[in-house]
């Protein structure tokens, strides 16, 4: 067999990058960790499932349709989204999940030598896509768990093409108000694109929370990301979108992959969009979950960061990755925050009442089992 010379073929920035390994299926995890059921509270999914209209569509979907290509540019859905959001259809570009639209934007604007600027403790995919595309990712530390305007501006230079702001921020749930966002845009000026990731916008119920799309006319260098994965519970179908000015989306469209959003996803999103009853029910579920978790953490004396989002961060007095393994043994899967550069924290997705109660019990059991011993015994697994 002739071995190709991979050493010479693979760019250095790809060679250095380590592939992300997604979690195995539930049955494999249950077998490995010895738990009879597994409640995933790690991906900020909506436990209610899709809105009724989307669920009904999925149940009655005609399998014969899968032999045909989907709408290559999601035309019917773009039309409905444009109408719903108050923009024109060309201002909307859909992708196979918001991750894909992140890649569209980076490919459209960045070349070797350019950089992107974002926070050090935020959604990792901006940084990852930039790095494995050979683009420098400059990271500004968070200030009091929130995006820091000064830190971001200090890292911007003439080769900065994109500034990514996650609003509200995943995983801290902090957010910039409309005034703060406007102030930042004015200080930054028009020479850089600002990507406002509003993946959790539909959860926000705060008067000051800005609708980025409403600022497009004032700041044409804005791009807004949204997704159907979180509030609309279509994560398994992979569909997200961006909105910008037509001048900007005309550019991004050049690097957008057509036909990448499948028929099921487009039609389910079309059915789901704008179901206010469903949004209200989800917000209510999230609020109850946040309250339950906050009460449990207060009892356990654990610091917690709550917000309107469907997740919360909890600080543990021991390793988060150890907590993950011990909670897995009890059937609860959380997200460790070491990978988000928050060692010792876990992020927990809000779920239905049963799951939240079960998780609170598991958390309580875990914390007591790790803190009832003396610190030395705990650290070294010995009895004193």
């Amino acid at each position: 067999m002739n071995l190709c010379n991979l050493e010479a073929l693979v760019p250095q920035y790809v060679r250095q990058f380590e592939a992300y390994i997604p979690s195995p299926p539930d049955d494999e995890l249950q077998q490995m960790f010895g738990c009879s059921r597994l409640v995933r509270m790690n991906n900020n999914e909506n436990p209610l499932g899709p809105p009724p209209a989307a669920a009904a569509f999925l149940k009655t979907f005609d399998p014969a349709l899968v032999s045909r290509y989907p709408s290559g540019d999601c035309r019917p859905l773009r039309a409905k989204l444009a109408d719903y959001l108050g923009v024109t259809p060309p201002q909307v570009i859909l992708g196979n999940g918001a991750n894909e639209v992140i890649a569209f934007v980076i490919k459209a604007f960045c070349q070797q030598g350019d950089n992107i600027v974002t926070a050090d403790r935020t959604f990792a995919v901006y940084e990852w896509i930039a790095r494995f595309s050979g683009i420098d990712a400059r990271l500004a530390p968070l200030d009091d768990f929130g995006f820091d305007e000064e830190g971001l501006l200090a890292r911007v230079d003439s080769r900065t093409k994109l500034v990514f702001i996650c609003n509200p921020n995943n995983p801290t749930g902090t957010w910039w108000s409309r005034d703060r966002l406007i102030r930042f845009m004015e200080r930054l000026g028009p020479d850089h694109i600002v990507v406002l990731d509003e993946a959790y916008a539909e959860f926000m119920d705060q008067p000051d929370y800005p609708d980025g799309i409403s600022l497009l006319s004032r700041f044409p260098n804005l791009i807004i990301f949204r997704t159907f994965s979180k509030m609309y519970a279509l994560a398994g179908l992979r569909i997200g979108y961006l909105v910008g000015t037509e001048q900007v989306t005309d550019i991004v469209r050049k690097t957008a992959i057509v036909y990448s959003v499948n028929t099921l996803a487009q039609s389910a999103a079309l059915a789901a969009l704008g179901d206010q009853t469903f949004i209200t029910a989800t917000r209510s579920l999230v609020q109850e979950g946040q309250q339950m978790l906050a009460a449990q953490c207060a009892e356990l004396k654990l610091p917690i960061l709550t917000s309107d989002c469907n997740f919360a961060m909890i600080k543990l007095p021991f390793s988060d990755t150890l907590a993950y393994r011990l909670l897995m043994q009890q059937g609860y899967m959380v997200r460790t925050m070491t990978g988000f550069r928050f060692p010792g924290w876990i992020r927990v997705s809000m779920s239905n009442c049963d799951a939240m109660q079960g998780f609170c019990t598991a958390l309580s059991r875990l914390v007591h089992s790790r803190t009832d011993q003396s610190p030395l015994a705990r650290a070294y697994g010995v009895s004193l």
Partner: protein
């Protein structure tokens, strides 16, 4: 610096000349460069016998604190010649060449061979630089009430820190050395090592933690070394958290801590065992960085109680298979990579291949290390490499006992065994 050459004896002077010149250019003194040249000569001859005519490349990797001579060969040579105990067969020419290689490996500080991910094999000879003895300047170290952490300390601060280690922790450096100051500065300059330093407002030294990110999925960490160990808790936690944060979003699976004193529980490290070293006890801790999904593990019956206990206490999800010797050939032969620290009499054996000759090859190694008065001898067994399990009974029979578990330290988990004395 790189040289491409065919494996024919006539090319030997060119290769040896290259090795010596490159070693000197990398900062080795004349004596060390000559030792590396001697090793090169013997290795080259052995390779000429093993895979005559093959095209190879030789290059020098300047690590600042050491020079690595790397031989890349396209196909596996006869691997038996690489064991440091490989004994000469005086009746044949090949045997004499092996004797040379035996000497060559002993002239180096580290000798290893590995199969490269993208094809071919790489043989490494490492010679470490020597450094002048530190100037004795013991000074009182005081507690610093408020400190700041830096990951880019000034050279003077690094020297001060190395002196602190020499003054307060000299005997507890394991398995790396960070004294004298020149060695620590060179290690940091190599980019394989890093230092998180805590300093007071006037720049006074409070403490620090060193890391080493070599190949593999684990980062080794050393410390915290503190100016005032009586009040370590908050500072230790801050140093450990900074380190974890630094590697949190990396491809590394975990951190292994070698600590001169017990780190506080809130620093996030789990107990991984303790090690008796010539200078005292080293506490070890483990901090997994990633969410793990479990793994298969092949473990010898003799090590099963140790392994299952540790898996249970560290909450590791493992599908454990007891590996029995059913008479299989294994890898065919046994090969160890060796790492020697002659100054403190420490040797680490890493099995690269395990075959049916495991017992004999292990005993030869131990005999040689005993002869050379190595008092601290360690060996690792990898649960991700089933044939390693064949080695376990021979290790236990020769006085080794398992002390430490490093999850994901190798292909799978790494069990570190230490030799306590003679045969059991």
């Amino acid at each position: 610096m790189k040289l491409s050459v065919e494996l024919v004896p006539e090319r030997m002077p060119v290769v040896v000349g290259f090795a010596e010149t490159a070693a000197k250019a990398a900062g080795l003194d004349a004596s060390a460069a000559a030792m590396l040249a001697l090793s090169t000569e013997e290795l080259f001859l052995a390779l000429c016998n093993s895979i005559p005519g093959a095209a190879i490349t030789v290059r020098l990797h300047d690590r600042r604190y050491a020079a690595d001579l790397l031989f890349q060969v396209p196909q596996p040579p006869d691997l038996r010649i690489f064991n440091i105990t490989s004994r000469p067969d005086h009746d044949t020419e090949e045997g004499l060449a092996e004797m040379g290689l035996f000497l060559a490996s002993r002239a180096c500080d580290q000798f290893s061979i590995r199969q490269m991910a993208l094809g071919g094999w790489e043989i490494m000879l490492r010679k470490e630089r020597s450094y002048p003895a530190p100037v004795q300047q013991s000074q009182p170290y005081l507690a610093v009430q408020t400190w700041q952490l830096t990951t880019t300390p000034a050279p003077d601060a690094v020297k001060q820190f190395s002196t602190l280690i020499a003054d307060c922790y000299a005997a507890c450096q394991f398995p790396e050395e960070f004294t004298p100051p020149g060695r620590l500065l060179d290690k940091l300059a190599s980019n394989e090592y890093g230092l998180i330093l805590a300093q007071g407002q006037q720049g006074e030294l409070a403490g620090g933690l060193i890391w080493h990110a070599g190949e593999g999925r684990i980062v080794e960490c050393f410390g915290p070394y503190l100016a005032a160990p009586a009040e370590p808790e908050q500072l230790s936690i801050a140093l450990c958290e900074k380190l974890t944060e630094q590697f949190g979003r990396s491809s590394r699976q975990g951190l292994v801590l070698y600590a001169p004193q017990q780190p506080p529980a809130a620093a996030g490290f789990e107990a991984a065992g303790s090690l008796a070293i010539p200078g005292g006890t080293i506490w070890t801790g483990y901090r997994m960085l990633a969410e793990e999904f479990g793994a298969d593990a092949a473990v010898a019956a003799e090590l099963m109680p140790f392994y299952t206990d540790w898996c249970s206490s560290m909450a590791l999800a493992r599908n454990i298979r007891s590996y029995h010797d059913d008479g299989e050939t294994g890898n065919g032969l046994t090969l160890f990579a060796t790492r020697l620290n002659r100054q403190i009499g420490m040797a680490r054996l890493t099995p690269l291949l395990v075959g049916r000759d495991a017992e004999a090859v292990l005993e030869e190694h131990l005999h040689l290390l005993d002869q050379e008065q190595f008092s601290a001898i360690y060996c690792t067994v990898d649960t991700g490499r089933p044939f390693d399990a064949l080695l376990a009974p021979h290790l236990l029979h020769n006085g080794f006992s398992p002390l430490m578990l490093i999850p994901w330290g190798g292909t799978g988990d790494l069990i570190l065994l230490q030799r306590n004395g003679g045969k059991r």
